[in-house]
Every structure is written in C-alpha cells, then in structure tokens.
C-alpha cells in the first residue's frame, strides 16, 4: 500500500509562509498604532476612568486550582483528537475496504470517552462555583 502524498518539505512552504504572514501581520498591526499614533502619557491619563475601581494588588495573582482541572480535562480530550486525526485522514479509503466498520469503531471509541464526559458533567467538573 503506497502512500504517495509526500513530496518533500517544500510542499509545506505555503504553510510556513502563511504562519510567517500571520505572525508578521499581528506584530505589524499591534505595533503600527504605537509607531504612528501620538503618545503623550500623563498622570491624569493613567488614572482609572471615572467611577472605576482603583487597582488592588498586582496583575500576577495566584490562580485557583480549579483551572488546573480544566487544563487536565482539555489534555485528555486533546489526546482523543490525536487518534481521530489519522482515522479521519484515512476514513475514505477505509470505508471503501471495510464498509461502515471504521465509523462504528470510532463511535465506540468516542462513546467510551463520553461515559467519562457524563461522569465529569455530573460531578460538576466543569462547574465554576
């Protein structure tokens, strides 16, 4: 079974150009206003606007552990995607050979993880309070 999609890393040059253009455009637009716009900071300008609260403490507050659970759950579902990706790429060829079998196979895979999702949901893993 030959897989002839590979034509060298040169095939990815448009992708790299897109990434470079994306990063470049982001930097350019973010910094263009700094370069072109007038900048006259003053004490009055730096104050909190009208009836807004004065800032308390630093900007680097400690995060709650609850965020960490969300991050871990994200990783687990991210790993699920890792297995979906090669399956999705090969899906057309696989269905031609095995019919709907690969489809149900992935459905089983997702269903087993869906049990975990329901557990997480019922346990309030996504609840904030």
């Amino acid at each position: 079974m030959p897989f002839l999609l590979y034509t060298g890393i040169s095939a990815y040059v448009p992708l790299f150009l897109l990434i470079i253009a994306g990063i470049g455009l982001g930097f350019l637009l973010a910094n263009l206003s700094v370069i072109l716009g007038p900048s006259r900071p003053g004490i009055k300008k730096g104050l909190t606007y009208e009836s807004g609260m004065d800032p308390v403490g630093t900007g680097h507050e400690r995060f709650s552990v609850k965020f960490y659970l969300v991050a871990m759950l994200f990783i687990l579902f991210d790993i699920e995607v890792v297995f979906m990706y090669p399956w999705a790429v090969q899906f057309r060829q696989l269905t031609q050979e095995f019919g709907m079998f690969p489809f149900w196979e992935m459905i089983t895979f997702v269903l087993i993880l869906f049990v975990g999702y329901i557990y997480m949901y019922k346990k309030g893993g996504l609840r904030w309070a």
């Binding site: 079974m1 897989f3 090669p86 196979e105």
Partner: protein, 168 residues
C-alpha cells in the same frame, strides 16, 4: 535547497527557543520560549518526513502540555527568579553532566553523518498520517479501543483527585 534553508531556519529557531527557555528569568517568558522550540521541532519533524509527529507536536505539546506548564506557573505564582551568582556544587555537577551529554551527542552525530542515510521514517512510511490511521483500524484495533478505556480511567482519576483537593 529549500529543505536546507528550512532545516537551518528551524534548527536556529529551535536552539534560540531552548536558550531563551534557560536564560529567561521570568518563568512565563521561559515557557513561551519553549513554545518556539516546540514549533521548530515540529518543523524538523516535517523535514524528516514524520508528518504525524509534527502535527502531534503542535497539537499536544505546543497546545495541551504548554497549557499545563503555564497553569502550573500561574498556580504557583512564580515570580522572576533571582540570578544565582555563586557556583555551587549542584551547578558544577550539572555542568559536568551537560558536558558529557554534549560529547555523547557529538560522537553519535559524527558517526551518523558519515553514512549519509535517509531518515528512517522516510524509508518505511512510518511518519505519515495515512499508515497510522490504517494500522489503527486494522492491526491495532483492539489497542485502539483500549486507549479509550485508559483515557476514561485518566479522566475519572483526574476528576476524583482534583475534587478531593478542591472540596473537602
């Protein structure tokens, strides 16, 4: 020609990211340098014809693992590290190990470069996405399904452990 340019680009970017990781005193900047390093390594994987690894490198490492790193940094509220000036025993040992590792790497790379081999992944189609998807659905069907059970166990474990700590 393009491949050589890209190789140098990714190598230099990767090394720059790694150096930035080590020398940045602010842990957040260090973690962000690590992202640059991860992306460059993904580019190097592409040039080794390991496309699957390249995608996973970005998806899992630059995505999920970095989220974890950043969250740990923010959870512990790490501040900018003080510059350690004195050269104590721990740093000396670390330096020796680093030197030994560098020598090992140079030795390994020199013996490999002389043979002029093509990348292993390219010889066997290992790295591409299609053979992996195919073998997941054919020869490794049972392990593939087992992975979902393992992930399920990890999911439930994470919730149980985390909830015990947050709500007691």
């Amino acid at each position: 020609m393009v491949e050589i340019i890209l190789f140098w680009l990714f190598s230099i970017l990767g090394i720059a990211g790694a150096v930035g990781l080590i020398f940045n005193r602010n842990p957040i900047y260090a973690a962000l340098s690590l992202i640059i390093n991860f992306f460059s390594i993904a580019g190097l994987y592409l040039s080794l014809r390991a496309e699957f690894l390249a995608v996973i490198q970005i998806l899992v490492y630059a995505g999920a693992i970095m989220v974890l790193f950043l969250f740990v940094i923010m959870l512990l509220n790490l501040q900018t590290e003080e510059k350690a000036e004195k050269f104590d025993a721990k740093r000396g040992i670390a330096f020796l190990f680093g030197l030994a590792f560098a020598a090992e790497m140079i030795y390994a790379l020199r013996s490999f470069a002389s043979e002029g081999q093509t990348p292993l992944a390219a010889q066997f189609d290992y790295g591409q996405v299609e053979p992996i998807g195919r073998s997941l659905m054919t020869s490794f069907l049972f392990p593939f399904e087992m992975i979902s059970v393992v992930l399920l166990a990890a999911l439930i474990g994470a919730i149980v452990v985390a909830r015990k700590h947050t709500y007691t």
